[in-house]
């Protein structure tokens, strides 16, 4: 054995030693290793190397005991963990100690967060419109500002000759498509076997439709489905309606002849998934439009179709828009000259103009509110209003938290003092209080998620959209909600944390604490702010109600009550008069008349050429029979109505506004020319036989415009499909019985057409659906805002009352009455509410004035709305406060003064 070997062997096994140092607590390792070494050396002398080494290893293993392994939390884990744990424990305890205040906070915050979440969901839905189109970023609709000498009207429909020309002339324009929608104009009856339905949501589209508009094709080829005449694409649910479980492809639906279309069978070539609701356009059926004669004719002037173009990737729309004026001059000038007798230059010099522009398909829903939109659109201002309501409600809830926390700060002052004495620094105390508020807001958020889930069905009824929770559970949304909860906690907790952590320990522990004057001012300021918001919301709600009432009750200038409208009557053809006479045999029907457009419908334009003037005016028009004015009870101001005693095919009646724009002194007998729609070369002259009083034939959002009536026998009448397509009748007595009688008569006359009716007043109210929905939403959220504000006030009042227990006791001993004390305690809040009123009134006035601008017929803002809002606010405030004051005031003074 060499000496170097013996040195190595006289050492304990290295692995055992390493193992010891690995597992053992470092502070114990040295002494244990020392003891083991000592023993090893002794063993080396007595028992030899092998045994000593073996025993050393054995002892190392024997030292695998709890006391050498366990590491104390205090020494080895990061300090933060223990602190956070401590924060949470302390936060939990302090929340539980004042459970009432905590509940007020949690309630307020959860309701606030719930409102916020619901509104955010709604906003997300509204901004998702038309986001699903594959090429959506490059697809634009062509819109038109039509400038007349005296006014400007914006249309969503444009002449149909431009889009193909754009593709040809402009390299930036890749594709185009155009279509006509039946919505709000007329309906088409489709038949399959013995099944027939009235379809009011039909598109007449061309074969490139699916290139620009994305729809999921379930069956058929999107490129070919609408190519060629008489093709039909259905949505899934429409297909099911007609064909049940049969395969619709290759089957045909029948209609009456549409326009001048010869064939009236439509071959189903495609089925698409039901089109998403969140699009500005909608359809149940699409039929190919390329055989419609009117689309084959050149048209550079008349607003006929919804036209869309797709630009090359990355082309700014302005580049294409810049080329429009040149294009109009090049192509439209000829037609303008032909129609008006003026050159394009003369025409524009007279103040006429066509300003075409592009609307991104994604922006249409929230930015476009033009004439003839496919669906009523929303607007950003509405979204902003909702968002600010959400922010306000959340703010009110946060203010509650801040107020209650700072008000109660004296209760926690001792805790803060003691913590500071024991070495806590301000930063750590801020963390501690923030933990408390974040915990509270997290809890409220969880609660409000449950509330959202259970309230969503009601919210859907309120807003009229179908939101489902499942579509909103995405990682991003979850992250946003968690982050928001965190942020709310910090927002609400920062100020109290700052105040509470600022106490000087000596002063606090000596008992010299008082709520600072500054703190009280801030609290008062916040309460005032809360109430200002509440008063703005209350008075706005009242004004909206006033306006809605005004609209519902405004005299429209004609009779819309009990007015039953029957659709599709153009299908009666020559049997119409017999049908009408048959109706009048029913004693409940006092009068009945055929009309082309009823008030509320889209009225076709009539191009009028006035005598002596070489320019034309486009005036809205309708066709009606000789009974219509009497049935609708539209009074005649001058001249006569249409009558059977005359041949009225070349007569016309105008309204007072038309009389004004035409500028006749004595209108009766004057002749107005108009192009014959069937022969553009010919001018037909109509003689004015009567003037009617103005009546509201459009919604009250617009002023009464000029209007002309032509007789049903008129030569120039039939422009729109289905001329006398409605019958209006005044119905009295038992409504359901009468309806049954009318239906059976209809089925007798028209066994293959659906019986389609509505009441005029109901239909007219639909114009205001958007306003009604927003006023409902407004009311609900206003109520919630007020409730949250009151809950906060309730808590604050409870606190103030508890501070003044002794004062109240002494006052009572000295003879104060209960009422006196209640007044004393309520006085301060009343002052705050009055200040809030002063702030709120101008704000609300300004906001509501803006809102009312949307109505052509609007109320003057009534000062009583503000008075009422103020009274409501003060009353609610008083009730809230006096509940607490009364509780404090009726306490026996002995109880509050006995213990000191």
């Amino acid at each position: 054995m060499s000496s170097s070997q013996s040195t190595i062997l006289s050492q304990p096994p290295a692995w055992a030693r390493k193992f010891l140092y690995w597992y053992c607590k470092p502070e114990l390792a040295e002494e244990i290793d020392g003891d083991l070494m000592e023993t090893f050396k002794e063993n080396l002398k007595i028992r030899g190397v092998r045994s000593a080494r073996f025993n050393y290893a054995l002892d190392v293993i024997r030292f695998l005991r709890p006391f050498t392994l366990t590491r104390d939390l205090d020494t080895l884990t990061p300090n933060h963990f223990a602190m956070i744990k401590n924060y949470i424990v302390v936060a939990y305890r302090s929340l539980m100690r004042k459970i009432g205040f905590s509940l007020i906070n949690i309630f307020g915050l959860s309701v606030g967060i719930t409102c916020c979440l619901l509104i955010m969901m709604y906003v997300q839905y509204e901004t998702s419109y038309d986001g699903f189109h594959t090429n959506g970023d490059n697809v634009y609709r062509i819109a038109l500002d039509r400038i007349y000498p005296d006014r400007e009207v914006s249309y969503a429909v444009t002449p149909h000759s431009f889009p193909p020309q754009m593709v040809e002339d402009f390299p930036e324009v890749k594709n185009e498509t155009m279509f006509v929608s039946t919505r709000s104009n007329f309906s088409v009856t489709f038949r399959y076997g013995n099944k027939f339905f009235d379809e009011g949501n039909v598109l007449f589209a061309d074969s490139s439709f699916f290139k620009l508009i994305t729809a999921k094709m379930v069956a058929g080829d999107p490129k070919e489905a609408l190519r060629g005449p008489n093709k039909l694409v259905l949505t899934e649910s429409t297909a099911r309606k007609y064909f049940g479980d049969e395969d619709p492809i290759g089957k045909s639906l029948e209609t009456n002849p549409l326009g001048n279309q010869q064939q009236n069978t439509w071959l189903v070539t495609g089925v698409v998934k039901d089109f998403p609701e969140n699009s500005h356009l909608t359809f149940d059926l699409i039929i190919s439009n390329n055989t419609f004669q009117f689309l084959q004719n050149e048209n550079w002037m008349g607003f006929s179709v919804f036209a869309y173009i797709e630009l090359e990737d990355g082309t700014p729309p302005e580049v294409v828009e810049a080329k429009f004026p040149e294009m109009i001059k090049k192509y439209a000038a000829g037609q303008i000259q032909q129609a008006t007798g003026q050159s394009f230059e003369e025409y524009t010099a007279a103040g006429h103009g066509y300003h075409y522009y592009l609307q991104s398909i994604k922006d249409i829903h929230l930015t476009s509110n033009l004439e003839a939109e496919i669906k009523p659109n929303s607007s950003w201002s509405y979204i902003y209003i909702l968002l600010s309501i959400a922010a306000f409600i959340l703010l009110i809830a946060c203010i509650n938290f801040m107020n209650l926390s700072t008000a109660r700060s004296s209760e926690r002052a001792k805790e803060v003092g003691l913590r500071k004495v024991l070495g806590s620094v301000k930063k750590l105390l801020i963390y501690q209080f923030l933990t408390e508020s974040i915990l509270l807001s997290m809890f409220s958020t969880i609660l409000s998620l449950g509330l959202v889930y259970s309230l969503l069905p009601f919210f859907n009824i309120l807003t009229g959209v179908e939101l489902t929770l499942a579509t909103y559970i995405t990682p991003i949304n979850v992250a946003i909600v968690v982050a928001t909860a965190f942020l709310i906690g910090i927002l609400a907790g920062f100020y109290p944390a700052f105040i509470l952590s600022g106490f000087t320990p000596v002063a606090v522990l000596k008992g010299r604490i008082q709520n600072s004057k500054g703190g009280k001012y801030l609290r008062d300021g916040l309460v005032t702010f809360q109430f200002a918001i509440s008063i703005v919301l209350i008075s706005s709600t009242l004004i909206i109600y006033d306006q809605m009432n005004f609209i519902s009750n405004k005299s429209l200038g004609f009779d819309s009550e009990q007015m039953l409208i029957l659709d599709n009557t153009n299908q009666l053809n020559e049997r119409g008069e017999v049908f009408r006479e048959e109706l009048l045999r029913n004693e409940n029907i006092t009068s009945a008349a055929f009309v082309g457009s009823i008030p509320g419908d889209v009225h076709p334009g009539f191009v009028a050429q006035l005598p002596g003037a070489n320019e034309t005016q486009v005036i809205l028009s309708t066709v009606l029979d000789e009974n219509a004015l009497e049935t609708l009870n539209i009074p005649i101001a001058k001249g006569r109505g249409f009558s059977r005693q005359f041949n009225d095919s070349l007569s016309m009646i105008i309204n007072e506004t038309a009389l004004k724009t035409m500028g006749f002194e004595d209108p009766i007998g004057k002749r107005v020319g108009s192009q014959n729609p069937n022969d553009p070369e010919e001018i037909i002259f109509f003689t004015i036989v009567g003037v009617v009083n103005d009546y509201h034939f459009q919604s009250l959002h617009t002023d009464i415009g000029p209007l002309v009536f032509l007789h049903s026998s008129s030569a120039a009448g039939p422009q729109a499909p289905g001329v006398l397509n409605k019958i209006a009748m005044k119905v009295n007595g038992n409504m359901s019985e009468t309806l049954l009688a009318i239906e059976s008569q209809w089925n007798e006359f028209m066994p293959n057409s659906p019986f389609n009716y509505y009441f005029l007043d109901g239909r007219l109210q639909e114009f205001y659906n958007a306003e009604k929905a927003s006023s409902r939403i407004f009311t609900v959220f206003t109520t919630l805002a007020i409730i949250i504000a009151c809950v906060g006030l309730f808590g604050l009042a409870a606190y103030t009352a508890s501070l003044k227990t002794k004062e109240i006791g002494i006052r009572k001993v000295l003879g104060a009455s209960v009422i006196g004390i209640v007044v004393l305690l309520s006085k301060e809040f009343t002052k705050l509410i009055l200040i809030a009123l002063v702030i709120a009134v101008p704000t609300a006035y300004y906001g509501m004035d803006l809102w009312l601008q949307d109505f052509a017929y609007r109320i003057n803002i009534n000062p009583t709305s503000f008075v009422l809002a103020g009274v409501i606010a003060i009353l609610i405030g008083w009730i809230t406060v006096s509940f607490q004051s009364l509780k404090a005031a009726v306490v026996n003074p002995v109880n509050s003064l006995r213990s000191e």
Partner: protein
């Protein structure tokens, strides 16, 4: 407090620390016990007991100097605290009390 209980082995270790008077550390305590009690004791058992006693406050310790035969490692020297002294004393008195109360007959020599 659970910690004030004094187990049998702990009592022996505590007394041994007292006996060694200032030179008590792991190896010496084991040697002393093995010699006096004639029983085999492992080093880890001694350390564990000393650790427990220190946690209970019966002994206190400080690090001594390093020596060569310890491979340059310092030893931890233990000494009995007043609290520890009282604890053994109490334990002894308790036992004597019990001895006194025991009927003498039961343990009378045969």
């Amino acid at each position: 407090m659970k910690g004030t209980y004094l187990g049998e082995f702990e009592e022996i270790v505590l007394l041994t620390v007292g006996v060694l008077d200032g030179s008590a550390y792991g190896v010496s305590v084991r040697k002393e016990i093995e010699q006096r009690m004639n029983r085999k004791v492992t080093l880890s058992a001694v350390h564990s007991a000393l650790h427990r006693l220190e946690k209970k406050g019966f002994v206190e310790s400080e690090l001594g100097e390093a020596t060569n035969e310890r491979g340059g490692k310092r030893k931890r020297l233990f000494a009995v605290t007043n609290f520890g002294r009282n604890a053994v004393k109490e334990a002894r008195e308790l036992r004597e009390q019990l001895w006194k109360e025991m009927p003498s007959l039961a343990f009378s020599p045969i």
